[in-house]
Symmetry: C2
Subunit: 256 residues, 2 copies
């Protein structure tokens, strides 16, 4: 299926589930929508924390069509949206064109699906994918660099990697500085403030076997978590796993 | 002289002239100060036009000390400021702390001094430096990618380069994508909308001799020109050649 067909099905209500494993050669993105009043602080935050916030595109106020997705509409082309008010989830919706405001700014932020496709191609097994689960994510003690109202700790994703492949996994991901880049941490979770590795803050724990090392990367959930913590009056995001699918191939993005 | 000494002399009114050739191993920057209301559009503009707008640092509202300059004060540490209202130059001042506003955001943008030091080290002669003149700059027909209220044409700087060294000059500058990068254009000025190469829009024409080719790079004057054209109510910039001098060595910046 082509992304344009998928977006059309989502828009018409035919596709209503998550986008994991769908159109998998194409870049999928996280979405954060904020009133323009907060857009400068947020954009500056993403610039200062590029490892966790790889911005792919910004749609300024007045725009809802992505340059990377023909005939798209950011208000209707994701299967599920979360609407937050003052840091609290108040509604889950299949489209947000009915509550759209002229001052909304949309941020498309890189998603780990793109990142993981390169690890798999490099021969690194990823257990959460083999088991069809969500990657394990943790709040850490690693401070982000704050910008205006946005401040807080970095969220990381963790993947158990066979000891002999840890260096290779680090090498592969370091080639993509615009997509999370090299690991933030390798090994002991306690060093970055994770008390119980078996209980992630988001996603699923898939075990760490003998001969495996936990490897931690900056995670695209960070900007959402930080924006939530700042309790701004209105924020809309994608629902976890329900991404915006672009027409842009992973390989093209990573080689840009 | 160390940058911290220079900034101290500027602040006390002892150094009042331009900064060309002063502390020349250190990064000097252009300065654009805007009310926060326009800061998102401007930051997005710089992201979309990185070749002409290499942002080194953003000081959000409430800040006036640069991370790259110990004990600095962006309001007093440049020798001369230009104050614009609605696109018109209304005042030239030696300090702007008396008209500072809490909602001012400051953008430090890379300056060609850094860029040129690498060309000279690479054996490329630069005539305007040999003749102690300002580089020639031209408005072109090359559109910038607009962002909100900011739109317009790219301003380029032109340096006459001996034919046999053109490729080398292009190669050297391509190594610094975060500092203007490779040339935007090589050769015929008419192709980028420059009608009379002998009459630059800013700076000084130093001739193009037989056996030399005009080489054009994106220029840090672009964001200022575009911001001026948008006629926003208030903007403060450095006066041409009167830069902010950081504690950061050119080599460190270019290798980051």
């Amino acid at each position: 299926m082509l992304p344009t067909e998928l977006r059309s099905m989502i828009r018409s209500g035919t596709h209503t589930t998550h986008t994991s494993g769908v159109c998998e050669d194409y870049v999928q993105t996280n979405l954060v929508i904020l009133p323009k009043e907060y857009a400068f602080d947020f954009l500056l935050f993403t610039m200062r924390n590029q490892k966790s916030c790889p911005v792919i595109e910004v749609l300024e106020d007045g725009r809802f069509v992505s340059d990377y997705a023909k005939d798209s509409d950011i208000r209707t082309d994701l299967p599920l949206y979360h609407v937050y008010e003052h840091g609290r989830l108040v509604e889950k919706k299949q489209r947000v064109d009915d509550c759209w405001r002229d001052d909304f700014v949309s941020f498309l932020i890189g998603c780990s699906f793109t990142f993981e496709s390169q690890l798999i191609k490099g021969g690194i097994p990823l257990r959460h994918i083999q088991e069809n689960k969500n990657v394990a994510m943790y709040k850490t003690s690693i401070q982000t660099e704050s910008a205006g109202v946005f401040k807080g700790e970095t969220v990381v994703s963790m993947r158990p990697i066979p000891d002999s492949l840890v260096q290779q996994a680090a090498d592969i991901t370091s080639l993509f500085p615009e997509m999370h880049g090299s690991p933030l941490h390798i090994g002991d979770p306690a060093e970055i403030g994770i008390e119980d590795i078996t209980r992630p803050d988001y996603g699923d724990f898939v075990g760490i076997k003998e001969g495996e090392t936990p490897v931690f990367w900056a995670c695209g959930v960070t900007p959402q978590a930080v924006a939530l913590a700042s309790k701004i009056p209105t924020m809309i995001t994608h629902a976890p796993g329900h991404m915006f699918v672009t027409d842009w191939k992973n390989e093209e993005y990573l080689q840009k």
